[in-house]
């Protein structure tokens, strides 16, 4: 229909299964286990999207930003054109030290896979842009690529981490990218998707990430319109028609740019209700009242459970009245988050502790010693 101008935006509604596993000792492991775990929640998805975020996978390039690019479009011609256009931009704005196609299995096993490439690079700032921090610079360039270059889409951009995602069940995506053979990570987060429509669009799968923050999400954000309205003001272009994107950008805004600690961020995304705030002592009440006054538009209203991955940590959070499930567990150095306990038990039958985190309260796993990974 020719009336797009009146459609302010349309977003997909989806919900899903999520899983995360982290070795807090920094020991790295392949994706075989998490692939089995997510496959056990097969029925929570419908085969229209799956993806992984992996931390610690590029130790040899750990100082470089690792861009994962998707070149879509109907024909190979379209894809190569998009690639050429992108490389033109990279050439001017970055120093690319290495690039290659992301290895994968036979394309015929997947639905319409795009061309997927990775670039390790450093910013090359010029003129006025020299005043920007590296990260600001990178974010602005990502937004530029994602909104301006047709058929090119940066879906992973952190250091020593990477996202892998596409259309299919997550276990199929894992196999396609051979995550159980080629990569070792200290944190894996995974997502199996159940969108309510089909556009087989690889970019629409989770995780969503910006720099080293990645999000996998189960639920629907009823406040999407408001969240987006607020974030656009800060230069975040919401192009992906999904509410998960706004969580990723909100996390970037609050955690990276505004440097707020996760406890506070959780209270912004999932604040206590006014009734509870009114009962708190004066200083808490003041803090939470102010947070809600300032950050009201970032309240993620509606059901969600998310796993946030970042360098050195993994965070689980559900909405303030916990409308989506999330189970947390520990076994030795391992820290797990999952939509269902059975998936954790499948790969770790014995657990030291299993619990259901409270709504709006983040559960955080951090590396015992950041050096082990960052060296």
């Amino acid at each position: 229909m020719p009336r797009i101008r009146r459609e302010l935006y349309s977003k997909e509604i989806c919900s899903c299964s999520i899983f995360g596993a982290m070795n807090q000792g920094g020991e790295r492991f392949n994706a075989a286990g998490v692939m089995r775990a997510i496959a056990n929640m097969h029925v929570r998805g419908n085969g229209l999207g799956g993806g992984f975020a992996a931390y610690g996978i590029y130790p040899h390039y750990s100082d470089y930003y690792a861009f994962h690019l998707m070149f879509t479009g109907k024909s190979m011609q379209d894809r190569l054109e998009a690639k050429a256009e992108l490389e033109e931009l990279l050439c001017h704005k970055f120093d690319v030290v290495y690039d290659e196609e992301i290895p994968h299995e036979d394309e015929s096993t997947m639905i319409d896979p795009p061309l997927i490439w990775r670039y390790f690079l450093l910013p090359h700032k010029r003129g006025e842009e020299e005043a920007l921090s590296d990260e600001e610079y990178i974010v602005s360039k990502i937004m530029q690529v994602n909104t301006k270059i047709e058929n090119a889409y940066v879906f992973s951009s952190g250091k020593n981490m990477g996202c892998f995602k596409g259309v299919g069940y997550p276990e199929e995506i894992g196999q396609y990218f051979m995550l159980d053979r080629l990569y070792q990570a200290y944190t894996w987060t995974v997502h199996g998707r159940f969108p309510t429509n089909t556009q087989a669009w690889w970019g629409g799968a989770h995780p969503f990430s910006l720099l080293d923050t990645s999000i996998v999400h189960n639920g629907e954000i009823s406040s999407y319109g408001t969240n987006r309205w607020y974030l656009e003001m800060y230069g975040y272009a919401c192009t992906l028609q999904t509410d998960t994107e706004v969580i990723a950008y909100a996390a970037d805004l609050l955690m990276r740019r505004q440097r707020l600690p996760i406890d506070i961020v959780a209270k912004i995304l999932a604040p206590p209700i006014w009734n509870a705030i009114d009962r708190m002592n004066q200083s808490e009440r003041k803090l939470l009242t102010t947070l809600r006054m300032v950050y009201g538009p970032l309240l993620m209203n509606g059901p969600f459970a998310i796993i946030i991955g970042q360098t050195g940590r993994m965070i689980g959070l559900t909405d303030r009245i916990r409308l989506r499930p999330l189970t947390a567990a520990r076994r030795g150095d391992m820290f797990y988050l999952s939509s269902e306990e059975a998936s954790i038990r499948l790969i770790s039958p014995e657990l030291d502790r299993v619990w259901t985190p409270n709504g709006g309260e983040p559960v955080v796993g951090e590396l015992n010693n950041m050096r082990t990974v960052l060296q």
Partner: protein, 270 residues
């Protein structure tokens, strides 16, 4: 297909058994549908007890076991059963050796579920009959809209505590939270919209944790009798908690009941 090992009894499944028979199946690599197909098949063939090993996430166990003849079955589960365990359960008995996930006893009608472990969210949702015993704690929205009707009075006994929205819209039945580890009841919004039934809490709760429709009072001797009965049953089924009935019952209990059967009667104009 399931690997069925006859533990008791002999001959093929088609032989009409005169005595109760027990069958053991291995659920590893079986999906939900296949496992429940198998259970139904066993029920129809007259098996009265099934032990399922290696359960890992299979859902709706017990749900497909309604028969017009009202056949009954005992199911023992080893592992972690998936969501909606015992949903619409029609008089069967299920024991879980391990933790249960979300939705245990959804709209359950009759029967018994015993969990040697913890249970997830929405435990006993809209349950109208039968009994559920959980050794440890449970998640959000426990006993939501639980109901009762004539001789059908659902019972939920939890060894630990529950999280927020316990007993929301509760319309009947009995919920007992024993807090055996004495961590204290942390749940908020207990009994919001409650208009029937009763919740017994061992220990204390703050008024601010309760919904405005809930009245709170100490228990009286008739409540003690009810508690006594269900705590005894709890301990019979879950002896591993290692406490005696007296140790549990001789402590302060609170009784939460709705202030009105009609919580929203003044909301509308004429």
């Amino acid at each position: 297909m399931a690997r069925a090992e006859e533990v008791n009894g002999s001959g093929s499944l088609d032989d009409a058994p005169a005595s109760p028979r027990e069958v053991e199946i291995d659920a590893a690599d079986q999906d939900t549908r296949a496992l429940n197909d198998r259970l139904r098949e066993l029920l129809l063939s007259g098996v009265e007890k099934v032990v399922i090993r290696n359960v890992c996430g299979q859902r709706y166990i017990g749900t497909r076991l309604y028969t017009p003849q009202h056949l009954k079955m005992d199911i023992e589960i080893f592992g972690t059963p998936g969501n909606d365990l015992a949903a619409f359960l029609f008089g069967h008995k299920i024991t879980v050796h391990g933790n249960a996930q979300d939705g245990v006893g959804n709209t359950m009608d009759a029967g018994e579920v015993v969990v040697h472990g913890r249970s997830g969210d929405v435990l006993g949702f809209s349950m109208r009959g039968g009994e559920i015993y959980v050794r440890d704690g449970c998640g959000y929205r426990t006993a939501l809209h639980m109901k009762e009707y004539e001789d059908k009075r659902p019972v939920l006994v939890i060894g630990g505590t529950a999280q927020d929205f316990l007993g929301e819209y509760m319309a009947g039945g009995i919920v007992v939270l024993l807090d055996l580890e004495e961590r204290g009841h942390q749940a908020n919004f207990i009994g919001t919209g409650m208009h029937g039934g009763v919740i017994y809490l061992r220990g204390a709760v703050d008024g601010s944790q309760l919904g405005s429709q809930v009245g709170c009072s100490p228990v009286d001797p008739s409540d003690r009798k009810v508690l006594d009965h269900y705590i005894t049953r709890f301990l019979e089924r879950l002896p591993e908690v290692g406490l005696s009935r007296e140790e549990i019952i001789n402590s302060p209990f609170l009784r939460l009941t709705p202030k009105s059967k009609r919580p929203y009667s003044t909301l509308y104009t004429y």
